[in-house]
Protein backbone atom coordinates (compact mmCIF):
# COMPACT_ATOMS: atom_id res chain seq x y z
CA UNK A 1 0.00 0.00 0.00
CA UNK A 2 2.62 2.44 1.12
CA UNK A 3 4.87 1.73 -1.83
CA UNK A 4 1.99 2.18 -4.24
CA UNK A 5 1.18 5.49 -2.73
CA UNK A 6 4.67 6.84 -3.03
CA UNK A 7 5.17 5.70 -6.55
CA UNK A 8 1.86 7.18 -7.61
CA UNK A 9 2.84 10.45 -6.03
CA UNK A 10 6.17 10.39 -7.78
CA UNK A 11 4.53 9.61 -11.07
CA UNK A 12 2.16 12.53 -10.78
CA UNK A 13 5.00 14.77 -9.78
CA UNK A 14 7.19 13.70 -12.69
CA UNK A 15 4.31 14.25 -15.06
CA UNK A 16 3.76 17.75 -13.80
CA UNK A 17 7.41 18.67 -14.10
CA UNK A 18 7.51 17.26 -17.57
CA UNK A 19 4.43 19.13 -18.66
CA UNK A 20 5.87 22.32 -17.26
CA UNK A 21 9.05 21.97 -19.21
CA UNK A 22 7.11 21.18 -22.36
CA UNK A 23 5.00 24.25 -22.27
CA UNK A 24 7.68 26.61 -21.07
CA UNK A 25 5.11 28.17 -18.78
CA UNK A 26 2.91 29.71 -21.37
CA UNK A 27 3.43 32.23 -24.10
CA UNK A 28 5.53 35.32 -23.47
CA UNK A 29 2.84 37.66 -24.75
CA UNK A 30 0.29 36.33 -22.29
CA UNK A 31 1.95 34.70 -19.32
CA UNK A 32 2.27 36.35 -15.94
CA UNK A 33 5.28 34.12 -15.39
CA UNK A 34 7.34 35.94 -18.01
CA UNK A 35 6.86 39.54 -16.93
CA UNK A 36 7.55 42.25 -19.47
CA UNK A 37 6.34 45.23 -17.52
CA UNK A 38 6.95 47.09 -14.29
CA UNK A 39 3.82 45.89 -12.50
CA UNK A 40 4.14 42.30 -13.66
CA UNK A 41 7.76 42.23 -12.51
CA UNK A 42 6.92 43.49 -9.06
CA UNK A 43 4.13 41.00 -8.73
CA UNK A 44 6.35 38.23 -10.05
CA UNK A 45 8.86 38.96 -7.28
CA UNK A 46 6.08 38.80 -4.74
CA UNK A 47 4.90 35.51 -6.19
CA UNK A 48 8.35 33.99 -5.97
CA UNK A 49 8.72 35.15 -2.38
CA UNK A 50 5.37 33.69 -1.42
CA UNK A 51 6.05 30.45 -3.24
CA UNK A 52 9.32 30.02 -1.40
CA UNK A 53 7.61 30.56 1.93
CA UNK A 54 4.84 28.17 0.97
CA UNK A 55 7.25 25.51 -0.19
CA UNK A 56 9.02 25.74 3.14
CA UNK A 57 5.72 25.24 4.98
CA UNK A 58 4.76 22.41 2.67
CA UNK A 59 8.04 20.62 3.16
CA UNK A 60 7.73 20.86 6.93
CA UNK A 61 4.20 19.49 6.83
CA UNK A 62 5.15 16.72 4.43
CA UNK A 63 8.18 15.62 6.40
CA UNK A 64 6.16 15.17 9.58
CA UNK A 65 3.41 13.57 7.55
CA UNK A 66 5.67 11.04 5.93
CA UNK A 67 7.37 10.08 9.16
CA UNK A 68 4.03 9.62 10.84
CA UNK A 69 2.59 7.47 8.11
CA UNK A 70 5.63 5.25 7.87
CA UNK A 71 6.43 4.93 11.52
CA UNK A 72 3.13 4.85 13.33
CA UNK A 73 1.09 2.33 11.40
CA UNK A 74 -0.65 -0.29 13.46
CA UNK A 75 1.77 -3.13 14.08
CA UNK A 76 0.62 -6.45 12.69
CA UNK A 77 2.03 -8.32 15.64
CA UNK A 78 0.44 -6.04 18.22
CA UNK A 79 -2.94 -4.81 17.00
CA UNK A 80 -4.15 -4.20 20.54
CA UNK A 81 -1.40 -1.78 21.34
CA UNK A 82 -2.80 1.29 23.04
CA UNK A 83 -0.74 4.41 22.42
CA UNK A 84 -0.14 6.99 25.08
CA UNK A 85 -3.04 9.43 25.15
CA UNK A 86 -1.17 12.74 25.03
CA UNK A 87 -3.20 15.84 25.68
CA UNK A 88 -0.94 18.27 23.90
CA UNK A 89 2.25 20.18 24.34
CA UNK A 90 2.57 23.83 25.12
CA UNK A 91 6.05 24.08 23.69
CA UNK A 92 5.06 22.58 20.36
CA UNK A 93 1.84 24.52 20.14
CA UNK A 94 3.66 27.77 20.76
CA UNK A 95 6.19 26.82 18.13
CA UNK A 96 3.63 26.30 15.40
CA UNK A 97 1.84 29.47 16.33
CA UNK A 98 4.90 31.67 16.34
CA UNK A 99 6.72 30.42 13.27
CA UNK A 100 3.76 30.91 10.91
CA UNK A 101 3.28 34.41 12.33
CA UNK A 102 6.88 35.22 11.46
CA UNK A 103 6.54 33.76 7.98
CA UNK A 104 3.39 35.76 7.39
CA UNK A 105 5.06 38.95 8.51
CA UNK A 106 7.81 38.34 6.00
CA UNK A 107 5.14 38.13 3.33
CA UNK A 108 2.93 40.89 4.66
CA UNK A 109 5.52 43.66 4.60
CA UNK A 110 6.31 43.56 0.88
CA UNK A 111 2.64 42.89 0.17
CA UNK A 112 1.67 46.17 1.76
CA UNK A 113 4.56 48.01 0.07
CA UNK A 114 3.69 46.70 -3.34
CA UNK A 115 0.00 47.28 -2.84
CA UNK A 116 0.71 50.94 -2.27
CA UNK A 117 3.29 51.08 -5.04
CA UNK A 118 0.90 49.63 -7.58
CA UNK A 119 -1.82 52.06 -6.60
CA UNK A 120 0.48 55.05 -7.01
CA UNK A 121 -0.60 57.25 -9.91
CA UNK A 122 1.54 60.28 -9.18
CA UNK A 123 3.68 61.63 -12.07
CA UNK A 124 6.98 60.03 -12.99
CA UNK A 125 10.21 61.79 -12.14
CA UNK A 126 12.85 61.93 -14.87
CA UNK A 127 16.62 61.92 -14.47
CA UNK A 128 16.76 65.63 -13.85
CA UNK A 129 14.37 65.21 -10.99
CA UNK A 130 11.51 66.99 -12.72
CA UNK A 131 7.99 65.75 -12.83
CA UNK A 132 7.18 64.43 -16.25
CA UNK A 133 3.89 64.99 -17.96
CA UNK A 134 1.60 62.04 -17.52
CA UNK A 135 -0.01 60.41 -20.49
CA UNK A 136 -3.54 59.60 -19.42
CA UNK A 137 -5.70 57.19 -21.34
CA UNK A 138 -9.40 56.88 -20.66
CA UNK A 139 -10.46 53.31 -21.06
CA UNK A 140 -14.06 52.31 -21.54
CA UNK A 141 -15.13 48.73 -21.34
CA UNK A 142 -18.28 47.68 -23.15
CA UNK A 143 -19.90 44.39 -24.01
CA UNK A 144 -17.57 43.06 -25.66
CA UNK A 145 -14.98 45.55 -26.78
CA UNK A 146 -12.57 48.14 -25.45
CA UNK A 147 -12.26 51.81 -26.22
CA UNK A 148 -9.17 53.92 -25.63
CA UNK A 149 -9.02 57.70 -25.63
CA UNK A 150 -5.72 59.44 -25.31
CA UNK A 151 -6.50 62.27 -22.98
CA UNK A 152 -5.81 65.70 -24.45
CA UNK A 153 -4.38 64.25 -27.67
CA UNK A 154 -7.53 63.92 -29.73
CA UNK A 155 -6.75 60.34 -30.54
CA UNK A 156 -9.06 57.38 -30.05
CA UNK A 157 -8.73 53.74 -30.86
CA UNK A 158 -10.58 50.62 -30.01
CA UNK A 159 -9.44 47.06 -29.37
CA UNK A 160 -5.74 47.83 -29.83
CA UNK A 161 -3.96 50.06 -27.40
CA UNK A 162 -0.69 51.65 -28.50
CA UNK A 163 1.63 52.64 -25.72
CA UNK A 164 5.24 53.80 -25.53
CA UNK A 165 7.73 51.53 -23.83
CA UNK A 166 9.78 52.58 -20.81
CA UNK A 167 7.29 55.20 -19.86
CA UNK A 168 4.31 54.93 -17.56
CA UNK A 169 0.95 55.45 -19.07
CA UNK A 170 -1.89 56.28 -16.74
CA UNK A 171 -5.20 54.56 -17.17
CA UNK A 172 -8.55 55.84 -16.02
CA UNK A 173 -11.17 53.17 -16.46
CA UNK A 174 -14.90 52.88 -16.41
CA UNK A 175 -17.54 50.78 -18.05
CA UNK A 176 -20.59 51.75 -20.02
CA UNK A 177 -22.58 48.68 -19.08
CA UNK A 178 -21.58 45.85 -16.75
CA UNK A 179 -18.37 45.27 -14.82
CA UNK A 180 -15.36 44.27 -16.88
CA UNK A 181 -11.77 43.82 -15.85
CA UNK A 182 -8.71 45.03 -17.72
CA UNK A 183 -5.88 42.51 -17.69
CA UNK A 184 -2.63 42.34 -19.64
CA UNK A 185 -0.88 39.56 -17.69
CA UNK A 186 2.55 40.05 -19.23
CA UNK A 187 2.67 43.75 -18.29
CA UNK A 188 0.61 44.19 -15.16
CA UNK A 189 -2.07 42.87 -12.91
CA UNK A 190 -5.73 43.49 -13.51
CA UNK A 191 -8.12 46.20 -12.46
CA UNK A 192 -11.90 46.14 -12.53
CA UNK A 193 -13.68 48.42 -14.93
CA UNK A 194 -16.78 49.50 -13.06
CA UNK A 195 -19.89 51.23 -14.31
CA UNK A 196 -20.51 54.87 -13.45
CA UNK A 197 -19.43 56.17 -10.13
CA UNK A 198 -16.43 54.02 -9.33
CA UNK A 199 -13.72 55.03 -11.77
CA UNK A 200 -10.46 53.16 -11.31
CA UNK A 201 -6.94 54.28 -12.07
CA UNK A 202 -3.75 52.37 -12.64
CA UNK A 203 -0.49 52.67 -14.49
CA UNK A 204 1.04 50.52 -17.18
CA UNK A 205 4.69 50.36 -18.03
CA UNK A 206 6.00 47.99 -20.68
CA UNK A 207 9.70 47.34 -20.55
CA UNK A 208 9.99 45.64 -23.91
CA UNK A 209 8.46 46.38 -27.25
CA UNK A 210 5.93 43.83 -28.31
CA UNK A 211 2.32 42.91 -28.87
CA UNK A 212 0.75 41.79 -25.62
CA UNK A 213 -2.56 40.05 -25.26
CA UNK A 214 -5.16 41.53 -23.02
CA UNK A 215 -8.18 39.82 -21.51
CA UNK A 216 -11.42 40.73 -19.88
CA UNK A 217 -11.29 39.10 -16.49
CA UNK A 218 -14.74 39.75 -15.07
CA UNK A 219 -17.71 37.75 -16.30
CA UNK A 220 -19.64 40.16 -18.51
CA UNK A 221 -21.97 38.03 -20.62
CA UNK A 222 -21.86 35.27 -23.21
CA UNK A 223 -18.84 36.61 -25.09
CA UNK A 224 -16.81 37.34 -21.99
CA UNK A 225 -14.18 34.84 -23.09
CA UNK A 226 -13.59 36.57 -26.40
CA UNK A 227 -13.44 40.15 -25.22
CA UNK A 228 -9.75 40.17 -26.03
CA UNK A 229 -7.65 43.19 -26.87
CA UNK A 230 -4.01 43.85 -27.67
CA UNK A 231 -1.51 46.18 -26.16
CA UNK A 232 1.03 47.30 -28.72
CA UNK A 233 4.11 48.63 -27.03
CA UNK A 234 6.38 50.58 -29.39
CA UNK A 235 9.42 52.69 -28.65
CA UNK A 236 8.63 56.23 -27.47
CA UNK A 237 9.75 57.82 -30.74
CA UNK A 238 7.56 55.50 -32.74
CA UNK A 239 4.71 56.15 -30.41
CA UNK A 240 5.10 59.88 -30.86
CA UNK A 241 4.94 59.41 -34.59
CA UNK A 242 1.90 57.20 -34.29
CA UNK A 243 0.05 59.83 -32.29
CA UNK A 244 0.91 62.51 -34.86
CA UNK A 245 -0.37 60.30 -37.66
CA UNK A 246 -3.53 59.47 -35.83
CA UNK A 247 -4.23 63.09 -34.99
CA UNK A 248 -4.35 63.86 -38.69
CA UNK A 249 -7.24 61.55 -39.41
CA UNK A 250 -10.64 63.14 -39.96
CA UNK A 251 -12.41 60.26 -41.61
CA UNK A 252 -12.92 62.39 -44.76
CA UNK A 253 -9.75 61.20 -46.48
CA UNK A 254 -10.46 59.70 -49.86
CA UNK A 255 -9.22 56.16 -50.24
CA UNK A 256 -7.28 55.19 -53.33
CA UNK A 257 -9.33 52.48 -55.00
CA UNK A 258 -12.79 53.12 -56.37
CA UNK A 259 -14.30 50.21 -54.53
CA UNK A 260 -12.97 51.59 -51.31
CA UNK A 261 -14.46 54.97 -52.12
CA UNK A 262 -17.84 53.38 -52.60
CA UNK A 263 -17.22 51.50 -49.41
CA UNK A 264 -16.56 54.76 -47.63
CA UNK A 265 -19.93 56.10 -48.77
CA UNK A 266 -21.70 52.92 -47.72
CA UNK A 267 -19.92 53.05 -44.39
CA UNK A 268 -21.07 56.63 -43.87
CA UNK A 269 -24.65 55.68 -44.68
CA UNK A 270 -24.90 52.52 -42.68
CA UNK A 271 -22.31 52.39 -39.97
CA UNK A 272 -21.50 55.89 -38.77
CA UNK A 273 -24.32 56.08 -36.26
CA UNK A 274 -22.39 53.62 -34.18
CA UNK A 275 -18.82 53.67 -35.42
CA UNK A 276 -16.35 56.44 -36.04
CA UNK A 277 -13.20 57.02 -38.03
CA UNK A 278 -10.94 59.68 -36.62
CA UNK A 279 -10.90 61.02 -33.13
CA UNK A 280 -14.29 60.88 -31.51
CA UNK A 281 -15.68 60.37 -28.12
CA UNK A 282 -16.61 56.85 -27.34
CA UNK A 283 -19.60 55.75 -29.38
CA UNK A 284 -21.90 52.75 -29.46
CA UNK A 285 -19.40 50.67 -31.42
CA UNK A 286 -15.62 50.52 -31.72
CA UNK A 287 -13.59 53.30 -33.30
CA UNK A 288 -12.15 52.11 -36.60
CA UNK A 289 -9.54 54.80 -37.34
CA UNK A 290 -6.68 52.39 -37.85
CA UNK A 291 -8.69 49.31 -38.64
CA UNK A 292 -6.30 48.45 -41.47
CA UNK A 293 -3.57 47.80 -38.92
CA UNK A 294 -5.64 45.58 -36.68
CA UNK A 295 -4.30 42.17 -35.79
CA UNK A 296 -7.68 40.64 -35.26
CA UNK A 297 -11.24 41.39 -36.17
CA UNK A 298 -13.36 42.08 -33.10
CA UNK A 299 -10.35 41.25 -30.98
CA UNK A 300 -10.41 37.53 -31.70
CA UNK A 301 -11.27 36.59 -35.27
CA UNK A 302 -8.48 36.06 -37.80
CA UNK A 303 -7.88 39.19 -39.81
CA UNK A 304 -8.89 38.63 -43.43
CA UNK A 305 -11.47 39.92 -45.80
CA UNK A 306 -13.73 36.88 -45.76
CA UNK A 307 -14.02 36.99 -42.02
CA UNK A 308 -14.66 40.72 -42.10
CA UNK A 309 -17.46 40.34 -44.61
CA UNK A 310 -18.91 37.52 -42.62
CA UNK A 311 -18.76 39.67 -39.54
CA UNK A 312 -20.51 42.56 -41.26
CA UNK A 313 -23.18 40.35 -42.75
CA UNK A 314 -23.90 38.23 -39.70
CA UNK A 315 -23.40 41.21 -37.41
CA UNK A 316 -21.10 39.01 -35.43
CA UNK A 317 -23.94 36.88 -34.16
CA UNK A 318 -21.97 33.66 -34.26
CA UNK A 319 -18.55 35.15 -33.87
CA UNK A 320 -19.41 37.04 -30.71
CA UNK A 321 -22.61 35.71 -29.18
CA UNK A 322 -24.68 38.36 -27.52
CA UNK A 323 -22.83 41.36 -28.94
CA UNK A 324 -24.77 44.57 -29.46
CA UNK A 325 -24.05 44.97 -33.16
CA UNK A 326 -26.77 42.39 -33.67
CA UNK A 327 -29.29 45.12 -33.01
CA UNK A 328 -27.90 47.34 -35.78
CA UNK A 329 -30.70 48.08 -38.28
CA UNK A 330 -28.67 48.03 -41.51
CA UNK A 331 -29.23 45.60 -44.33
CA UNK A 332 -26.47 45.14 -46.90
CA UNK A 333 -25.96 43.15 -50.04
CA UNK A 334 -22.90 40.95 -50.10
CA UNK A 335 -21.08 43.13 -52.60
CA UNK A 336 -21.81 46.20 -50.52
CA UNK A 337 -20.36 44.51 -47.49
CA UNK A 338 -17.34 43.67 -49.52
CA UNK A 339 -16.85 47.29 -50.48
CA UNK A 340 -17.06 48.36 -46.90
CA UNK A 341 -14.54 45.70 -46.02
CA UNK A 342 -12.25 47.00 -48.70
CA UNK A 343 -12.54 50.51 -47.30
CA UNK A 344 -11.98 49.44 -43.73
CA UNK A 345 -8.97 47.30 -44.48
CA UNK A 346 -7.38 50.29 -46.17
CA UNK A 347 -7.59 52.43 -43.06
CA UNK A 348 -3.97 52.64 -42.09
CA UNK A 349 -3.06 56.20 -41.23
CA UNK A 350 0.29 55.42 -39.70
CA UNK A 351 3.42 53.52 -40.55
CA UNK A 352 3.54 52.52 -36.96
CA UNK A 353 1.70 49.21 -36.81
CA UNK A 354 1.96 46.10 -34.70
CA UNK A 355 4.93 45.20 -36.84
CA UNK A 356 6.80 48.17 -35.44
CA UNK A 357 6.49 46.52 -32.07
CA UNK A 358 8.10 43.33 -33.29
CA UNK A 359 10.93 44.80 -35.38
CA UNK A 360 14.03 45.87 -33.55
CA UNK A 361 13.82 49.55 -34.40
CA UNK A 362 14.02 51.69 -31.27
CA UNK A 363 13.46 55.44 -31.45
CA UNK A 364 13.79 57.37 -28.26
CA UNK A 365 11.81 60.43 -27.29
CA UNK A 366 10.73 62.19 -24.13
CA UNK A 367 7.28 62.66 -25.67
CA UNK A 368 7.42 66.34 -24.82
CA UNK A 369 5.96 67.30 -28.17
CA UNK A 370 2.77 65.57 -27.10
CA UNK A 371 2.42 67.93 -24.17
CA UNK A 372 2.47 71.54 -25.47
CA UNK A 373 3.38 74.23 -22.95
CA UNK A 374 -0.08 75.51 -22.11
CA UNK A 375 -1.13 72.04 -21.11
CA UNK A 376 1.08 72.37 -18.07
CA UNK A 377 -1.24 74.99 -16.59
CA UNK A 378 -3.51 72.60 -14.95
CA UNK A 379 -5.45 69.43 -15.17
CA UNK A 380 -8.68 71.29 -15.80
CA UNK A 381 -7.55 71.48 -19.39
CA UNK A 382 -8.50 67.88 -19.86
CA UNK A 383 -12.15 68.52 -19.62
CA UNK A 384 -12.24 70.48 -22.84
CA UNK A 385 -12.01 67.62 -25.20
CA UNK A 386 -15.29 66.32 -24.11
CA UNK A 387 -14.49 62.93 -22.77
CA UNK A 388 -15.39 63.74 -19.24
CA UNK A 389 -18.89 64.63 -20.25
CA UNK A 390 -20.05 61.10 -20.50
CA UNK A 391 -18.31 60.43 -17.27
CA UNK A 392 -20.18 63.16 -15.50
CA UNK A 393 -23.74 62.85 -16.63
CA UNK A 394 -24.36 59.78 -14.56
CA UNK A 395 -21.98 60.85 -11.93
CA UNK A 396 -24.10 63.53 -10.35
CA UNK A 397 -26.02 60.80 -8.67
CA UNK A 398 -23.13 59.54 -6.63
CA UNK A 399 -22.10 62.55 -4.69
CA UNK A 400 -20.18 60.57 -2.16
CA UNK A 401 -17.84 59.48 -4.87
CA UNK A 402 -17.28 63.04 -5.93
CA UNK A 403 -16.40 64.15 -2.44
CA UNK A 404 -13.39 61.96 -2.46
CA UNK A 405 -10.12 63.63 -3.34
CA UNK A 406 -8.92 60.93 -5.66
CA UNK A 407 -11.64 61.64 -8.11
CA UNK A 408 -10.86 65.29 -8.74
CA UNK A 409 -9.12 64.12 -11.86
CA UNK A 410 -12.54 63.68 -13.35
CA UNK A 411 -14.67 66.16 -11.56
CA UNK A 412 -12.60 69.26 -11.32
CA UNK A 413 -14.80 71.34 -13.50
CA UNK A 414 -17.97 70.64 -11.58
Amino acid sequence: MMKGWMSKFKAIFALIVLALVLSGCGKPFLSALQPKGEGAEMIYDLMILSIVIMLFVFVVVMVIYTIVIIKYRQKKDDPDFIPKQTEGSHALETLWTVIPIILLLILAVPTVQYTFALADTSPEINEEGEEQDSLWINITGAQYWWHFEYDGLEVSTSQELYIPTDRRVYLSMSSQDVIHSFWVPAIDGKMDVNPTGNTNEMTLLAKEEGVYWGKCAELCGPSHSIMDFKVIAVSPGEFEQWVKDMQGVTGEETPESATAQEGQQLFADNCMTCHAVGSSPNKIGPNLTNFGDRLKIAGVVDYNKENLIEWIQTKGKEMKPGNHMQDAPYNLKDEEAEKIAEYLMGLSPSDITPESAEDSVYKDSDLSSLFPEEEAEGEGEQSQDGESEEGSDGEGSSEDGAEDENSDEENNEE
Partner: protein, 206 residues
Protein backbone atom coordinates in the same frame (compact mmCIF):
# COMPACT_ATOMS: atom_id res chain seq x y z
CA UNK B 1 -46.46 15.77 32.12
CA UNK B 2 -48.36 16.86 29.07
CA UNK B 3 -51.20 17.82 31.34
CA UNK B 4 -48.76 19.68 33.56
CA UNK B 5 -47.87 21.83 30.63
CA UNK B 6 -51.42 23.01 30.17
CA UNK B 7 -52.20 23.58 33.82
CA UNK B 8 -52.39 27.22 34.67
CA UNK B 9 -51.89 27.05 38.40
CA UNK B 10 -48.71 26.96 40.36
CA UNK B 11 -46.51 28.75 37.88
CA UNK B 12 -42.83 29.20 38.66
CA UNK B 13 -41.19 32.62 38.68
CA UNK B 14 -40.20 32.55 35.03
CA UNK B 15 -42.86 30.39 33.38
CA UNK B 16 -41.38 31.07 29.98
CA UNK B 17 -38.19 29.27 30.88
CA UNK B 18 -39.52 26.56 33.13
CA UNK B 19 -39.60 23.73 30.60
CA UNK B 20 -36.93 22.53 28.22
CA UNK B 21 -39.16 23.50 25.31
CA UNK B 22 -39.53 26.94 26.79
CA UNK B 23 -35.82 27.35 27.30
CA UNK B 24 -35.21 26.23 23.74
CA UNK B 25 -37.70 28.69 22.35
CA UNK B 26 -36.28 31.43 24.50
CA UNK B 27 -32.68 30.79 23.43
CA UNK B 28 -33.51 30.17 19.81
CA UNK B 29 -35.44 33.36 19.57
CA UNK B 30 -32.67 35.43 21.05
CA UNK B 31 -30.25 33.96 18.57
CA UNK B 32 -32.67 34.71 15.79
CA UNK B 33 -32.68 38.32 16.95
CA UNK B 34 -28.88 38.30 16.73
CA UNK B 35 -29.27 37.34 13.09
CA UNK B 36 -31.93 39.97 12.57
CA UNK B 37 -29.44 42.54 13.78
CA UNK B 38 -27.23 41.74 10.82
CA UNK B 39 -30.22 41.74 8.51
CA UNK B 40 -31.18 45.25 9.48
CA UNK B 41 -27.57 46.36 9.50
CA UNK B 42 -27.32 45.32 5.86
CA UNK B 43 -30.40 47.36 5.08
CA UNK B 44 -29.13 50.35 7.03
CA UNK B 45 -25.78 50.11 5.30
CA UNK B 46 -27.41 50.01 1.89
CA UNK B 47 -29.58 52.97 2.81
CA UNK B 48 -26.62 55.00 4.03
CA UNK B 49 -24.64 54.18 0.91
CA UNK B 50 -27.46 55.36 -1.33
CA UNK B 51 -29.03 58.15 0.66
CA UNK B 52 -27.58 60.85 -1.58
CA UNK B 53 -28.32 59.05 -4.82
CA UNK B 54 -31.51 60.94 -5.49
CA UNK B 55 -31.03 61.31 -9.26
CA UNK B 56 -33.93 63.59 -10.23
CA UNK B 57 -36.14 62.73 -7.30
CA UNK B 58 -36.53 64.60 -4.04
CA UNK B 59 -33.89 64.41 -1.32
CA UNK B 60 -34.33 63.36 2.28
CA UNK B 61 -34.59 66.80 3.85
CA UNK B 62 -37.08 67.94 1.24
CA UNK B 63 -39.71 65.43 2.15
CA UNK B 64 -39.31 64.23 5.70
CA UNK B 65 -41.54 65.89 8.23
CA UNK B 66 -40.69 65.32 11.85
CA UNK B 67 -44.10 65.78 13.46
CA UNK B 68 -45.53 62.54 12.18
CA UNK B 69 -42.34 60.65 12.88
CA UNK B 70 -42.34 61.95 16.41
CA UNK B 71 -45.86 60.75 16.99
CA UNK B 72 -45.04 57.38 15.46
CA UNK B 73 -42.02 57.09 17.70
CA UNK B 74 -43.95 57.84 20.85
CA UNK B 75 -46.66 55.42 19.83
CA UNK B 76 -44.21 52.61 19.23
CA UNK B 77 -42.17 53.30 22.36
CA UNK B 78 -45.35 53.26 24.40
CA UNK B 79 -46.39 49.97 22.87
CA UNK B 80 -43.09 48.57 24.07
CA UNK B 81 -43.99 49.56 27.61
CA UNK B 82 -47.48 48.14 27.31
CA UNK B 83 -46.07 44.82 26.20
CA UNK B 84 -43.84 44.88 29.26
CA UNK B 85 -47.01 45.31 31.29
CA UNK B 86 -48.50 42.33 29.55
CA UNK B 87 -45.51 40.21 30.49
CA UNK B 88 -45.72 41.52 34.03
CA UNK B 89 -49.23 40.22 34.33
CA UNK B 90 -48.33 37.01 32.64
CA UNK B 91 -45.71 36.34 35.24
CA UNK B 92 -48.24 37.15 37.92
CA UNK B 93 -50.53 34.61 36.31
CA UNK B 94 -53.19 37.14 35.56
CA UNK B 95 -54.28 36.25 32.03
CA UNK B 96 -57.13 38.74 31.83
CA UNK B 97 -54.89 41.72 32.46
CA UNK B 98 -52.28 40.27 30.20
CA UNK B 99 -54.76 40.05 27.37
CA UNK B 100 -55.88 43.59 28.09
CA UNK B 101 -52.37 44.99 27.84
CA UNK B 102 -51.64 42.92 24.77
CA UNK B 103 -54.78 44.42 23.28
CA UNK B 104 -53.47 47.91 23.99
CA UNK B 105 -50.15 46.96 22.44
CA UNK B 106 -51.88 45.76 19.33
CA UNK B 107 -53.93 48.94 19.13
CA UNK B 108 -50.79 51.06 19.35
CA UNK B 109 -49.07 48.90 16.78
CA UNK B 110 -52.00 49.32 14.43
CA UNK B 111 -51.89 53.07 14.94
CA UNK B 112 -48.22 53.06 14.08
CA UNK B 113 -48.79 51.03 10.98
CA UNK B 114 -51.64 53.25 9.89
CA UNK B 115 -49.49 56.34 10.32
CA UNK B 116 -46.72 54.75 8.33
CA UNK B 117 -49.02 53.88 5.48
CA UNK B 118 -50.35 57.42 5.54
CA UNK B 119 -46.77 58.71 5.45
CA UNK B 120 -45.85 56.61 2.44
CA UNK B 121 -49.04 57.60 0.68
CA UNK B 122 -48.20 61.21 1.33
CA UNK B 123 -44.70 60.87 -0.14
CA UNK B 124 -45.91 59.09 -3.21
CA UNK B 125 -48.74 61.45 -4.01
CA UNK B 126 -47.50 64.66 -2.46
CA UNK B 127 -43.91 64.55 -3.64
CA UNK B 128 -43.85 62.02 -6.47
CA UNK B 129 -41.46 60.04 -4.39
CA UNK B 130 -42.22 56.50 -5.48
CA UNK B 131 -40.43 53.22 -4.97
CA UNK B 132 -38.69 53.43 -8.33
CA UNK B 133 -37.91 57.15 -8.34
CA UNK B 134 -34.25 56.84 -7.42
CA UNK B 135 -31.79 54.60 -5.68
CA UNK B 136 -32.45 56.65 -2.57
CA UNK B 137 -36.19 56.09 -2.72
CA UNK B 138 -35.79 52.34 -3.21
CA UNK B 139 -33.44 52.17 -0.26
CA UNK B 140 -35.73 54.25 1.92
CA UNK B 141 -38.88 52.31 1.24
CA UNK B 142 -37.09 49.00 1.55
CA UNK B 143 -35.54 49.78 4.91
CA UNK B 144 -38.60 51.39 6.45
CA UNK B 145 -40.89 48.94 4.69
CA UNK B 146 -38.98 45.97 6.07
CA UNK B 147 -39.53 47.39 9.51
CA UNK B 148 -43.18 47.99 8.73
CA UNK B 149 -43.52 44.40 7.56
CA UNK B 150 -42.01 43.27 10.84
CA UNK B 151 -44.59 45.32 12.71
CA UNK B 152 -47.38 43.83 10.65
CA UNK B 153 -46.10 40.30 11.20
CA UNK B 154 -45.75 41.00 14.93
CA UNK B 155 -49.33 42.18 15.09
CA UNK B 156 -50.58 39.07 13.34
CA UNK B 157 -48.57 36.93 15.69
CA UNK B 158 -49.77 38.58 18.88
CA UNK B 159 -53.37 38.63 17.75
CA UNK B 160 -53.32 34.96 16.87
CA UNK B 161 -51.79 34.17 20.26
CA UNK B 162 -54.50 36.20 21.97
CA UNK B 163 -57.25 34.45 20.10
CA UNK B 164 -55.82 31.00 20.58
CA UNK B 165 -55.44 31.51 24.31
CA UNK B 166 -58.49 33.67 24.89
CA UNK B 167 -60.26 30.92 26.78
CA UNK B 168 -57.42 29.55 28.81
CA UNK B 169 -54.97 30.83 31.28
CA UNK B 170 -51.24 31.18 31.25
CA UNK B 171 -49.46 27.85 31.36
CA UNK B 172 -46.06 26.41 30.76
CA UNK B 173 -46.95 25.67 27.15
CA UNK B 174 -48.06 29.09 26.07
CA UNK B 175 -46.01 31.32 28.36
CA UNK B 176 -42.86 30.95 26.22
CA UNK B 177 -44.90 31.85 23.16
CA UNK B 178 -46.18 35.04 24.72
CA UNK B 179 -42.76 35.84 26.00
CA UNK B 180 -40.91 35.55 22.70
CA UNK B 181 -43.64 37.47 20.92
CA UNK B 182 -42.95 40.29 23.33
CA UNK B 183 -39.21 39.99 22.74
CA UNK B 184 -39.94 40.35 19.06
CA UNK B 185 -42.01 43.42 19.73
CA UNK B 186 -39.21 45.05 21.69
CA UNK B 187 -36.78 44.25 18.92
CA UNK B 188 -39.02 46.05 16.45
CA UNK B 189 -38.80 49.02 18.73
CA UNK B 190 -35.02 48.78 18.84
CA UNK B 191 -34.91 48.91 15.07
CA UNK B 192 -37.25 51.84 14.98
CA UNK B 193 -35.04 53.80 17.35
CA UNK B 194 -32.31 53.55 14.75
CA UNK B 195 -34.66 54.29 11.89
CA UNK B 196 -35.91 57.51 13.38
CA UNK B 197 -32.39 58.51 14.28
CA UNK B 198 -30.51 57.48 11.16
CA UNK B 199 -33.17 57.94 8.52
CA UNK B 200 -35.32 60.80 9.68
CA UNK B 201 -33.26 62.86 12.09
CA UNK B 202 -29.99 62.48 10.22
CA UNK B 203 -31.87 62.96 6.96
CA UNK B 204 -33.11 66.25 8.29
CA UNK B 205 -29.74 67.56 9.46
CA UNK B 206 -28.10 66.23 6.29
Amino acid sequence: MADDMLKSTNLPQNPERATLEGRNKFMGFWFFLGGETVLFASLFGTYLALKNSTVDGPAANEIFGLELVFIMTIVLLTSSLTSVYAMYHMKNNDPKKMQLWLGITVALGLTFLGLEIYEFYHYVHGYHFGYTTSAFSSAFYTLVGFHGAHVAFGLGWIVSLMIRNAKRGVNLYNAPKFYIASLYWHFIDVVWVFIFTVVYLMGKVG
